[in-house]
């Protein structure tokens, strides 16, 4: 098979960094392959992706050695614009990458630059609108779209240039499970039908493991490993829940998809499915009564009646645009309820005292020079000291570091620590797992559990069903601004075709995590 992208002993240092971001990186990505770059944050995934179209080193600066060739063109001699006809790049969080305002114009932008004749442009725009099912959005302003719609528009805008290689940095991180499935299926179709080479970075392996042909396993400070998904993920110690189960019960090789796991599970004898004991319900810390909210003429929420009690960890789920963020903002006293009310101990909740909300983007919070100063900047932390909060997130060892030098996952933990330092008993997170790697996620989970155990309450909006299955004691599902389900994860997620976690798909609605399943295995 022909090679689409070749890395030849590439080593790269960002400016003023002693540690290399890529080391001795040698790999061949075949034409028409679906390639996943996997690894913890800071392992060099983004750098690898950006080296494919020459953003590294042309935009990053720094010290670059070795050679990257794409369709025979050396990226050192070809800046990104000279590669625009062979490689398209979709960055993480594509909203900031839009150049024009209308969807249709945005799709045509790259073609205009490449000098594509008008008739061909027109045809390709129409085809691409259909391919990604965004035809109804063509007249819209890109700023008015939801996260999922923006993601699809960004992919469409990359495709119209008719590239041979498409590079995407975490293309599903903002999408609900169905939206993610649609985008990945569209990418797979491009690989199969058009022979396009697709390279993506993604943390949520359960979403992509079934689609990919080749995995590049990135590791900090050593060369990456390249190979089939099963071997590389095992080597990295990463994998979707089915693979984790495979390791726990000794299946070799561990399965990567629900389908493969079902085949392996035929011979597995399971005992009683676990009844998660629910602790007695604590005092209500914040309650809503017939809560509604609107933006201009649009209803964002309707008749929401909820209570968050001491000791609870609650997952808030629902598709993009269902009203999750608005509900969190109402609970935090940041958005005015109309009609209805929100109350904490009989009065409207005071942001930062009764309820604290950790925003989606940690960079909205961070402004000090060190992690310790950042947490100390929160007024309440001056009394209580910052050590205890850092400890709860397991980030004591980062305290002298500048927040901007941390990985995305670590920055989120620091922002969360700064918000939690307010001492508010109810802590809300808005999609905390965007771009979060496995180890940062683990720390976040530990914080949520300990906060609830100490009498607080946690609610987090998320598209990550596996996180909800693992940590939440209760799941609230929103659709079109209304609560359509509120109950235990097994009841709400277990039999949902879209939201069911992998264990429930393999073993039935009562099963949520690989650890639960492994513990219930009856020895043959």
């Amino acid at each position: 098979m022909k090679t689409a992208v070749r890395f030849d002993d590439v080593t790269f240092f960002y400016p003023e960094r002693a540690e290399p971001a890529l080391v001795g990186c040698t790999l061949d990505l075949p034409e028409g392959a679906f390639v996943l770059a996997a690894g913890e944050t800071g392992a060099g995934k983004s750098t690898l992706l950006r080296a494919i179209n020459g953003l590294v080193p042309h935009f990053s600066g720094g010290d670059f050695s070795g050679r990257v060739t794409v369709e025979g063109r050396d990226t050192v001699d070809h800046p990104p614009r000279r590669l625009a006809d062979v490689v398209s790049f979709v960055p993480q969080g594509p909203a900031a990458s839009f150049v024009l305002d209308r969807v249709e114009d945005e799709l045509a932008y790259a073609m205009e630059n490449l000098g594509v004749p008008p008739a061909a442009m027109r045809r390709r725009v129409e085809e691409t609108l259909d391919l990604l099912a965004i035809e109804p959005l063509r007249e819209r302003s890109v700023r008015s779209l939801s996260g999922g719609e923006q993601q699809r528009v960004a992919i469409a805008a990359a495709l119209t240039a008719n590239p041979r290689v498409l590079v995407l940095d975490e293309p599903t991180s903002q999408l609900d499970p169905q939206g993610a499935e649609d985008v990945l299926a569209a990418l797979q179709r491009l690989v199969h039908d058009l022979g396009l080479t697709v390279v993506i970075a993604e943390h949520r392996l359960e979403r992509v493991a079934g689609f990919v042909d080749v995995v590049v396993g990135c590791r900090r400070g050593i060369p990456p490993i390249v190979g089939g998904a099963a071997e590389v993920l095992r080597e990295l110690g990463l994998g979707p829940p089915v693979a984790r189960l495979g390791v726990l019960v000794g299946w070799d090789p561990p399965p990567l998809t629900v389908r493969a796991a079902r085949r392996d599970a035929v011979h597995l004898q399971l005992g009683e499915s676990p009844r998660r004991v629910r602790p007695p319900r604590g005092d209500d810390l914040v309650t809503t009564h017939d809560l509604g909210a609107s933006f201009g003429p649009l209803n964002a929420l309707r008749e929401v009646n909820l209570a968050l009690a001491s000791g609870e960890v609650v997952a808030l789920m629902g598709r993009n645009g269902a009203g999750k963020t608005t509900l969190l903002r109402c609970l935090a006293g940041l958005h005015e309820p109309r009609p209805g009310m929100v109350s904490a101990h009989g009065a409207a909740p005071r942001a930062g005292l009764d309820v604290a909300l950790c925003p989606q983007d940690p960079d909205m919070v961070l402004f000090r020079d060190t992690v310790a100063d950042e947490v100390r900047a929160t007024r309440a932390a001056r009394r209580r000291g910052h050590q205890e909060v850092l400890h709860r997130f397991g980030i004591e060892d980062l305290q002298a570091i500048h927040p901007r030098d941390l990985s995305a996952g670590q920055r989120l933990l620091v922002a969360a620590a700064a918000i939690v330092a307010t001492g508010a008993p109810v802590v809300l997170f808005d999609e905390p797992t965007r771009g979060l790697d496995a180890s940062s996620k683990r720390r976040l989970i530990e914080f949520m559990r300990s906060h609830a155990a100490n009498g607080g309450a946690v609610m987090f909006a998320t598209h990550d069903v596996e996180l909800a299955a693992e940590v939440a004691g209760r799941v609230v599902m929103l659709a079109a601004g209304e609560v359509i389900a509120d109950g235990s994860p097994a009841d709400v997620l277990g039999d949902s075709p879209v939201f069911a976690p992998q264990m429930a798909r393999v073993f039935g609605a009562g099963w949520l995590t690989p650890e639960e399943v492994a513990a219930a295995v009856v020895p043959a």
């Binding site: 935009f59 800046p79 590669l83 305002d101 790259a110 240039a161 942001a351 930062g352 983007d361």
Partner: protein
Amino acid sequence: MNSELSATSHAYRDSARMVHPVAWLVWAGCAGLAAVTTTNPFYLLPLFASAWIVHSTHRTSGPAARSFRIFLLFAVWAITIRTGLVLLGPINQGSVANALLEGLRLGALLTVFGTFNSVADPFRVLKLAPRRWHESALAAALALSIAPRTIASVERVREAQRMRGIDIGRWSGLPSLAVPVLATGMDEAMTLAESMDARGHGRGTRTRYRPDRWSPAATAVTAIAGLAAAAFVAAAIGGWGGLEPSTFPLVWPEASPALVASALAFAAPALVAPGRRR
């Protein structure tokens, strides 16, 4: 949440029937020119009405459409201030009336400009720039999109820091607002620059996607606006029609039916060109 929006904006752009941005440019220029020639309320008030009618039939669905209201507020403010300043000095009927009429003229200009902003998509106007000005036009287009984003991020940062008990109103609290906003802005600017380069910006060859086409409606809008402005210019040169009514002594202004009709003719786009779909 977005479904209702998409239902109303699902009207396709029909470039043969739509008014070309250049026609709007001519319309606004002519209406502005007419406003400049006169302080006569019998001409300015119909001009206000025309601008309002055009705004309500042709405003776009984008955020720029809101600029009409903003400019109208400016207009009211201009009239008030202009009149208010006079009240500080020695007052007589004539000077107050004079200030009021001057304010009315300034207000009409602002309203015409606001209407132009609300009916002509600024991105489409910038796309018209000749090829050698492409770079500056693109810079202007980006500036247009960055301003609202910055306002949104200021709002979000302020909320988060207030929640942390940081007093952003005080001088010492400024970094807590400025640092995240600037850092995010820098990151976004960098992402945008990368995105433009990665999508072939600056390769030298360029073609244009679906350029706006000139339509009969655009010709009609241009011609009527041109004639109406010509009437005001002719009156100004010929010294007829009472364009600048005397305020010393204060007299009831005369009004030429031809000029009143001309001022109303600026509402023509409402009749000759298809407007907003409901």
